[in-house]
C-alpha cells in the first residue's frame, strides 16, 4: 500500500480582486503552490451574491492549498485579522497526500 502523509488543507474564499494579494500573503507564509477554483454564488453575513462578472469586484474565487502544519498556521495568523474586514471565508482541515515532501 502506498504510504500517505498528513498535511493541512487550507481553503480561502475571497473576492477576485483580492486574490493576488492573498497569494502574496500565502507566499510570505511559505505557501507557493495553490489552486484556484471558481464559484457560482452564495450568501453570508454581507448578503447574497451571484457570480456576475459585470464588475468582477464581487465575484468570488476559492483558493486551495495543501501545506504543512507550520506553514498553515503562519498563513492563518496573517489572514485572521483580515477575515472580518475583507469578507473572507477561511477553512482548514486534515488531508492525506502521497509525496509528502512536495507539500511542506
Amino acid at each position: 500500500m502506498t504510504e500517505t502523509i498528513h498535511r493541512r488543507r487550507i481553503e480561502v474564499l475571497a473576492d477576485e480582486p483580492l486574490i493576488p494579494a492573498i497569494v502574496a500573503l500565502a507566499a510570505e507564509a511559505g505557501i507557493v503552490h495553490y489552486t484556484l477554483l471558481p464559484t457560482a454564488g452564495g450568501a453570508g453575513a454581507h448578503g447574497r451574491w451571484r457570480d456576475d462578472q459585470l464588475s468582477g469586484a464581487t465575484a468570488k474565487v476559492m483558493l486551495l492549498a495543501i501545506t504543512s502544519q507550520d506553514h498553515a498556521a503562519a498563513f492563518i495568523d496573517r489572514l485572521a485579522p483580515l477575515l472580518e474586514s475583507h469578507h473572507l471565508l477561511l477553512m482548514s482541515s486534515d488531508v492525506e497526500v502521497v509525496r509528502g515532501r512536495k507539500f511542506d
Binding site: D15, P17, L18, P20, A21, I22, L25, H46, G47, R48, R50, D51, D52, Q53, L54, S55, G56, A57, T58, A59, R78, P81, L82, S85, H86, H87
Partner: protein, 318 residues
C-alpha cells in the same frame, strides 16, 4: 424625445430584464457571455471614436472637452463626498468610495446615450469617446485621497494603487481600441465594421437585458441601501449631469457633445471603480457603492437621465 427614448429596443430590453428579475424569474445570461459583450462594447466604442477623430483631426473643441472632462472627474467627487457625509450619513471610507464612483463614468450609459442622441439628430462628436476614456480614472485618485486610509491595509499592493487604477482591464481596452481607431482611421476599419460598427445597437440590447436583471436583483437584495442613499443616488446624477451640460454649453461644444458631457458627468462607474475600491478600500461596503451606482443611478439615467440631459442641452443651445 423622452417617450421615444423609452420605447427604443435597448431600453425595452433593459426593462424586460428588470421585470423578469423583479418577478423572480430564473432568466440569466451566462457570465462569460455578458463579460464578452461588455468587452465588445468597449472595443467598438473605442474603435469608432478613434476612427472619427482620425477623420476630423485634432480640434480646439477636443482639447476643451478633454480638459472639462478631466476637471469634472477630479472635482465631482468633492461635493458628492460632502453630501454623502452629511445628508447620506456615511462614514468617511464609504463616502469616499461612493464619491469616486460618481466622479467616474459608465461606459454603457454613454453608449446608450450616444445612440439615443444620434436617433434624435444630436450625435455627439467622435472625440467624446476620448473624453470618456479620460474621465474613467481621475475620480479614483480623488476618492482615495478623501478616504485617507487607502492602501494602508496589509493586503494593499506595495506599489500603491496607481497600477491597479491605470491598468484596469476596461480602461486599457477602451484606450487601446481608441488608439487603434486613430491609427487605422475610418478607411482602415472598414474591414472590421461588420463586427464593430453595424451590430453595435443589437449587442447593446442583449447587454442591457443582462443589466436589467443584475440591477433589479441588486435592488431586491438592497441590504446596504437606505432611503437617504437611494435619494442621493437619484440626486447626484441630476446635479452632476446638469453641471456637465452647462459646462459643455459654456465651452461652445455642439449640443450633442454638451449632452454627452452631461451623460458622462451624470453617470456612475460600476466596472472599473469597484474593482479598484474592493482592493484599495476593503472596509467600504460593495453592497453600498454597487447598489447606488448599478441598481439606482444606472436605471435612472437610462430611462430619464439621458433624455433630460439631451433636453437641457437642446434648450441651452437655443
Amino acid at each position: 424625445m423622452a417617450v421615444d427614448a423609452l420605447l427604443q429596443p435597448v431600453v425595452l430590453f433593459f426593462l424586460l430584464g428588470a421585470m423578469a428579475a423583479l418577478a423572480r424569474s430564473d432568466l440569466a445570461i451566462p457570465e462569460a457571455v455578458a463579460k464578452g459583450i461588455s468587452l465588445y462594447l468597449m472595443m467598438s466604442i473605442g474603435l469608432r471614436g478613434g476612427g472619427e477623430v482620425a477623420e476630423s483631426g485634432f480640434t480646439h473643441d477636443m482639447v476643451l472637452a478633454g480638459g472639462a472632462g478631466l476637471a469634472l472627474s477630479f472635482l465631482l467627487p468633492l461635493p458628492a463626498f460632502w453630501l454623502l457625509r452629511t445628508l447620506g450619513q456615511l462614514d468617511r471610507t464609504n463616502a469616499a468610495a461612493v464619491a469616486a464612483h460618481y466622479g467616474s463614468v459608465s461606459v454603457v450609459t454613454f453608449a446608450t446615450g450616444s445612440e439615443i442622441l444620434r436617433q434624435a439628430g444630436m450625435a455627439p462628436a467622435g472625440f467624446m469617446v476620448g473624453v470618456l476614456a479620460v474621465m474613467e480614472t481621475p475620480a479614483i485618485i480623488t476618492g482615495l485621497l478623501l478616504a485617507r486610509t487607502a492602501g494602508k491595509d496589509s493586503l494593499a499592493p506595495r506599489g500603491g494603487m496607481l497600477h491597479e487604477t491605470f491598468l484596469n482591464g476596461s480602461v486599457i481596452l477602451l484606450l487601446g481600441s481608441f488608439l487603434i481607431g486613430l491609427i487605422d482611421g475610418k478607411e482602415g476599419l472598414k474591414a472590421v465594421a461588420p463586427v464593430f460598427d453595424v451590430p453595435f445597437r443589437g449587442m447593446l440590447c442583449i447587454f442591457l437585458l443582462d443589466m436589467g436583471l443584475i440591477a433589479a436583483r441588486r435592488l431586491m437584495d438592497r441590504r446596504a441601501l437606505t432611503l437617504r442613499t437611494v435619494l442621493l443616488a437619484l440626486a447626484l446624477p441630476v446635479m452632476n449631469g446638469s453641471l456637465g451640460v452647462v459646462l459643455g454649453t459654456a465651452l461652445a461644444l455642439d449640443p450633442g457633445s454638451a449632452a454627452a458631457l452631461g451623460i458622462l458627468a451624470g453617470s456612475a462607474s460600476y466596472i472599473a471603480v469597484p474593482a479598484v475600491m474592493r482592493l484599495a478600500l476593503p472596509a467600504a461596503d460593495p453592497g453600498l457603492y454597487l447598489g447606488m451606482s448599478l441598481a439606482v443611478t444606472f436605471p435612472f439615467n437610462l430611462t430619464l437621465g439621458i433624455a433630460f440631459y439631451g433636453w437641457l442641452a437642446a434648450l441651452l443651445a437655443s
